[in-house]
Assembly symmetry: C2
Homo-oligomer: 138 residues x 2
Protein backbone atom coordinates (compact mmCIF):
# COMPACT_ATOMS: atom_id res chain seq x y z
CA UNK A 1 0.00 0.00 0.00
CA UNK A 2 1.17 3.50 -0.72
CA UNK A 3 1.01 6.26 1.86
CA UNK A 4 -1.50 9.08 1.72
CA UNK A 5 1.37 11.34 0.86
CA UNK A 6 1.93 9.54 -2.41
CA UNK A 7 -1.75 9.26 -3.19
CA UNK A 8 -2.26 12.97 -2.54
CA UNK A 9 0.75 13.79 -4.67
CA UNK A 10 -0.61 11.75 -7.56
CA UNK A 11 -4.00 13.38 -7.29
CA UNK A 12 -2.47 16.83 -7.20
CA UNK A 13 -0.27 16.14 -10.22
CA UNK A 14 -3.25 14.77 -12.08
CA UNK A 15 -5.23 17.88 -11.17
CA UNK A 16 -2.48 20.15 -12.45
CA UNK A 17 -2.07 18.11 -15.60
CA UNK A 18 -5.71 18.59 -16.43
CA UNK A 19 -5.58 22.39 -16.43
CA UNK A 20 -5.90 23.73 -19.97
CA UNK A 21 -3.29 26.44 -19.57
CA UNK A 22 -0.19 26.32 -17.47
CA UNK A 23 -1.35 29.06 -15.12
CA UNK A 24 -0.39 28.59 -11.49
CA UNK A 25 -3.00 26.87 -9.36
CA UNK A 26 -3.19 27.66 -5.68
CA UNK A 27 -2.70 24.96 -3.09
CA UNK A 28 -6.06 25.80 -1.54
CA UNK A 29 -7.80 25.13 -4.84
CA UNK A 30 -6.25 21.70 -5.18
CA UNK A 31 -6.76 20.80 -1.56
CA UNK A 32 -10.46 21.64 -1.71
CA UNK A 33 -11.04 19.93 -5.03
CA UNK A 34 -9.30 16.75 -3.91
CA UNK A 35 -10.20 16.71 -0.21
CA UNK A 36 -6.64 16.95 1.00
CA UNK A 37 -5.42 18.69 4.14
CA UNK A 38 -3.97 21.94 2.84
CA UNK A 39 -0.94 22.04 5.11
CA UNK A 40 -0.05 18.46 4.31
CA UNK A 41 -0.42 19.14 0.61
CA UNK A 42 1.94 22.10 0.96
CA UNK A 43 4.79 19.88 2.00
CA UNK A 44 4.03 17.37 -0.73
CA UNK A 45 4.05 19.97 -3.48
CA UNK A 46 7.26 21.36 -2.06
CA UNK A 47 8.92 17.96 -2.49
CA UNK A 48 7.69 17.70 -6.03
CA UNK A 49 8.98 21.16 -6.79
CA UNK A 50 12.41 20.38 -5.34
CA UNK A 51 12.47 17.26 -7.47
CA UNK A 52 11.96 19.42 -10.54
CA UNK A 53 8.48 18.40 -11.62
CA UNK A 54 6.68 21.51 -10.47
CA UNK A 55 7.44 25.18 -10.27
CA UNK A 56 5.75 27.74 -8.09
CA UNK A 57 4.98 31.42 -7.99
CA UNK A 58 4.54 33.35 -4.80
CA UNK A 59 2.12 36.17 -4.18
CA UNK A 60 -1.18 37.08 -5.77
CA UNK A 61 -1.96 34.97 -8.79
CA UNK A 62 0.67 32.54 -7.61
CA UNK A 63 0.50 28.81 -7.14
CA UNK A 64 1.93 25.65 -8.61
CA UNK A 65 2.24 24.54 -12.19
CA UNK A 66 3.78 21.67 -14.09
CA UNK A 67 7.30 22.23 -15.29
CA UNK A 68 7.61 19.16 -17.48
CA UNK A 69 5.46 17.63 -20.15
CA UNK A 70 3.06 15.09 -18.71
CA UNK A 71 4.59 12.40 -20.88
CA UNK A 72 8.00 13.10 -19.34
CA UNK A 73 6.83 12.33 -15.83
CA UNK A 74 6.97 8.60 -15.28
CA UNK A 75 5.14 7.12 -12.36
CA UNK A 76 8.39 5.60 -11.15
CA UNK A 77 9.88 9.03 -10.47
CA UNK A 78 6.89 10.25 -8.54
CA UNK A 79 6.88 7.06 -6.54
CA UNK A 80 10.54 7.38 -5.62
CA UNK A 81 10.18 10.97 -4.52
CA UNK A 82 7.10 10.56 -2.39
CA UNK A 83 7.12 6.93 -1.33
CA UNK A 84 10.75 5.89 -1.55
CA UNK A 85 12.30 2.75 -2.99
CA UNK A 86 10.35 0.74 -5.52
CA UNK A 87 12.17 -2.47 -4.64
CA UNK A 88 10.63 -4.64 -1.97
CA UNK A 89 13.89 -5.15 -0.11
CA UNK A 90 16.74 -2.64 0.23
CA UNK A 91 19.31 -5.08 -1.13
CA UNK A 92 17.79 -5.02 -4.62
CA UNK A 93 17.08 -1.31 -4.81
CA UNK A 94 18.77 0.50 -7.68
CA UNK A 95 18.39 3.99 -6.25
CA UNK A 96 18.36 3.33 -2.53
CA UNK A 97 20.59 0.28 -2.11
CA UNK A 98 21.28 -0.94 1.39
CA UNK A 99 22.62 -4.22 2.65
CA UNK A 100 20.12 -6.38 4.50
CA UNK A 101 21.16 -6.75 8.11
CA UNK A 102 20.30 -10.44 8.16
CA UNK A 103 22.11 -11.54 5.00
CA UNK A 104 25.80 -12.41 5.19
CA UNK A 105 25.74 -13.15 1.47
CA UNK A 106 23.19 -11.70 -0.90
CA UNK A 107 24.02 -14.07 -3.68
CA UNK A 108 22.95 -17.08 -1.70
CA UNK A 109 19.67 -15.53 -0.61
CA UNK A 110 16.52 -16.83 -2.28
CA UNK A 111 14.55 -13.76 -1.35
CA UNK A 112 17.17 -11.56 -2.96
CA UNK A 113 16.96 -13.47 -6.24
CA UNK A 114 13.21 -13.39 -6.25
CA UNK A 115 12.97 -9.72 -5.43
CA UNK A 116 15.18 -8.78 -8.33
CA UNK A 117 12.59 -10.31 -10.64
CA UNK A 118 9.72 -8.61 -8.87
CA UNK A 119 11.56 -5.30 -9.01
CA UNK A 120 12.24 -5.53 -12.71
CA UNK A 121 8.68 -6.36 -13.46
CA UNK A 122 7.30 -3.57 -11.31
CA UNK A 123 9.80 -1.13 -12.74
CA UNK A 124 8.77 -1.87 -16.27
CA UNK A 125 5.23 -0.83 -15.43
CA UNK A 126 6.10 2.24 -13.44
CA UNK A 127 8.73 3.48 -15.87
CA UNK A 128 6.45 3.06 -18.83
CA UNK A 129 3.44 4.75 -17.37
CA UNK A 130 3.56 8.52 -17.44
CA UNK A 131 1.36 11.15 -15.94
CA UNK A 132 -0.09 11.52 -19.42
CA UNK A 133 -1.19 7.91 -19.69
CA UNK A 134 -2.75 8.16 -16.39
CA UNK A 135 -5.03 11.14 -16.96
CA UNK A 136 -5.73 10.17 -20.56
CA UNK A 137 -8.60 7.82 -19.97
CA UNK A 138 -10.57 9.82 -17.44
Amino acid sequence: MISRKTKYGLKALSFLAKQESNKPVQISVISEAENISQKFLESILLSLRKAGFLASKKGKGGGYYLLKETRDIPLASIYRILEGPIAMVPCVSLNFYEKCHDCPDEHSCDVHKLMIQVRDNTLSILENTSLQDFIKES
Copy 2:
Protein backbone atom coordinates in the same frame (compact mmCIF):
# COMPACT_ATOMS: atom_id res chain seq x y z
CA MET B 1 9.22 -2.11 0.66
CA ILE B 2 8.09 -5.15 2.55
CA SER B 3 8.41 -5.46 6.31
CA ARG B 4 10.95 -7.66 8.00
CA LYS B 5 8.10 -9.88 9.02
CA THR B 6 7.37 -10.73 5.40
CA LYS B 7 11.00 -11.10 4.49
CA TYR B 8 11.61 -13.42 7.44
CA GLY B 9 8.53 -15.41 6.55
CA LEU B 10 9.74 -15.88 2.99
CA LYS B 11 13.15 -16.94 4.14
CA ALA B 12 11.70 -19.41 6.60
CA LEU B 13 9.37 -20.90 3.99
CA SER B 14 12.24 -21.18 1.58
CA PHE B 15 14.31 -22.90 4.24
CA LEU B 16 11.56 -25.43 4.94
CA ALA B 17 10.98 -26.00 1.26
CA LYS B 18 14.59 -26.97 0.82
CA GLN B 19 14.54 -29.77 3.36
CA GLU B 20 14.71 -33.16 1.65
CA SER B 21 12.18 -34.86 3.86
CA ASN B 22 9.18 -33.32 5.50
CA LYS B 23 10.50 -33.79 9.00
CA PRO B 24 9.70 -30.98 11.44
CA VAL B 25 12.35 -28.30 11.74
CA GLN B 26 12.72 -26.43 14.99
CA ILE B 27 12.25 -22.68 15.10
CA SER B 28 15.69 -22.29 16.64
CA VAL B 29 17.29 -24.04 13.70
CA ILE B 30 15.66 -21.72 11.20
CA SER B 31 16.29 -18.61 13.24
CA GLU B 32 19.99 -19.39 13.53
CA ALA B 33 20.41 -20.36 9.91
CA GLU B 34 18.65 -17.25 8.67
CA ASN B 35 19.70 -14.73 11.32
CA ILE B 36 16.21 -14.05 12.53
CA SER B 37 15.19 -13.23 16.09
CA GLN B 38 13.73 -16.47 17.38
CA LYS B 39 10.81 -14.97 19.24
CA PHE B 40 9.83 -12.86 16.29
CA LEU B 41 10.04 -15.84 14.00
CA GLU B 42 7.79 -17.77 16.36
CA SER B 43 4.91 -15.40 15.75
CA ILE B 44 5.50 -15.37 12.02
CA LEU B 45 5.43 -19.13 11.73
CA LEU B 46 2.31 -19.18 13.86
CA SER B 47 0.56 -16.93 11.32
CA LEU B 48 1.64 -19.16 8.48
CA ARG B 49 0.39 -22.19 10.33
CA LYS B 50 -2.99 -20.59 11.02
CA ALA B 51 -3.19 -19.75 7.34
CA GLY B 52 -2.79 -23.41 6.51
CA PHE B 53 0.63 -23.44 4.87
CA LEU B 54 2.53 -24.96 7.75
CA ALA B 55 1.86 -27.51 10.43
CA SER B 56 3.70 -27.97 13.69
CA LYS B 57 4.53 -30.64 16.19
CA LYS B 58 5.19 -29.96 19.83
CA GLY B 59 7.70 -31.66 22.06
CA LYS B 60 10.92 -33.44 21.32
CA GLY B 61 11.52 -33.91 17.63
CA GLY B 62 8.89 -31.28 17.02
CA GLY B 63 8.99 -28.21 14.83
CA TYR B 64 7.42 -26.82 11.70
CA TYR B 65 6.96 -28.41 8.32
CA LEU B 66 5.27 -27.56 5.06
CA LEU B 67 1.71 -28.72 4.70
CA LYS B 68 1.26 -27.94 1.03
CA GLU B 69 3.25 -28.63 -2.07
CA THR B 70 5.66 -25.83 -2.84
CA ARG B 71 4.00 -25.28 -6.20
CA ASP B 72 0.68 -24.71 -4.43
CA ILE B 73 1.97 -21.78 -2.43
CA PRO B 74 1.80 -18.66 -4.55
CA LEU B 75 3.71 -15.62 -3.46
CA ALA B 76 0.49 -13.64 -3.47
CA SER B 77 -0.92 -15.71 -0.59
CA ILE B 78 2.17 -15.34 1.53
CA TYR B 79 2.20 -11.63 0.85
CA ARG B 80 -1.41 -11.19 1.89
CA ILE B 81 -0.95 -13.12 5.11
CA LEU B 82 2.22 -11.41 6.28
CA GLU B 83 2.17 -8.02 4.60
CA GLY B 84 -1.49 -7.33 3.87
CA PRO B 85 -3.15 -5.97 0.74
CA ILE B 86 -1.34 -6.23 -2.56
CA ALA B 87 -3.17 -3.25 -4.01
CA MET B 88 -1.56 0.14 -3.58
CA VAL B 89 -4.76 1.82 -2.44
CA PRO B 90 -7.54 0.25 -0.38
CA CYS B 91 -10.20 1.17 -2.93
CA VAL B 92 -8.83 -1.27 -5.51
CA SER B 93 -8.08 -4.15 -3.18
CA LEU B 94 -9.86 -7.38 -4.00
CA ASN B 95 -9.37 -8.99 -0.61
CA PHE B 96 -9.19 -5.98 1.68
CA TYR B 97 -11.45 -3.43 0.00
CA GLU B 98 -12.02 -0.15 1.78
CA LYS B 99 -13.35 3.15 0.55
CA CYS B 100 -10.79 5.94 0.39
CA HIS B 101 -11.70 8.69 2.83
CA ASP B 102 -10.89 11.43 0.34
CA CYS B 103 -12.83 10.14 -2.65
CA PRO B 104 -16.52 10.97 -2.95
CA ASP B 105 -16.62 9.01 -6.20
CA GLU B 106 -14.15 6.29 -7.08
CA HIS B 107 -15.16 6.20 -10.71
CA SER B 108 -14.03 9.74 -11.32
CA CYS B 109 -10.69 9.25 -9.58
CA ASP B 110 -7.62 9.04 -11.82
CA VAL B 111 -5.57 7.34 -9.15
CA HIS B 112 -8.23 4.69 -8.74
CA LYS B 113 -8.18 3.88 -12.44
CA LEU B 114 -4.42 3.74 -12.54
CA MET B 115 -4.11 1.59 -9.48
CA ILE B 116 -6.43 -1.03 -10.90
CA GLN B 117 -3.95 -1.51 -13.71
CA VAL B 118 -0.98 -1.62 -11.38
CA ARG B 119 -2.78 -4.11 -9.17
CA ASP B 120 -3.62 -6.45 -12.03
CA ASN B 121 -0.09 -6.39 -13.27
CA THR B 122 1.41 -7.01 -9.84
CA LEU B 123 -1.11 -9.73 -9.15
CA SER B 124 -0.22 -11.60 -12.29
CA ILE B 125 3.37 -11.83 -11.10
CA LEU B 126 2.62 -12.75 -7.52
CA GLU B 127 -0.09 -15.27 -8.36
CA ASN B 128 2.07 -16.99 -10.94
CA THR B 129 5.18 -17.27 -8.83
CA SER B 130 5.11 -20.11 -6.34
CA LEU B 131 7.43 -21.05 -3.53
CA GLN B 132 8.72 -23.71 -5.89
CA ASP B 133 9.76 -21.26 -8.59
CA PHE B 134 11.46 -19.22 -6.06
CA ILE B 135 13.76 -21.84 -4.56
CA LYS B 136 14.30 -23.56 -7.88
CA GLU B 137 17.15 -21.48 -9.17
CA SER B 138 19.26 -21.30 -6.04
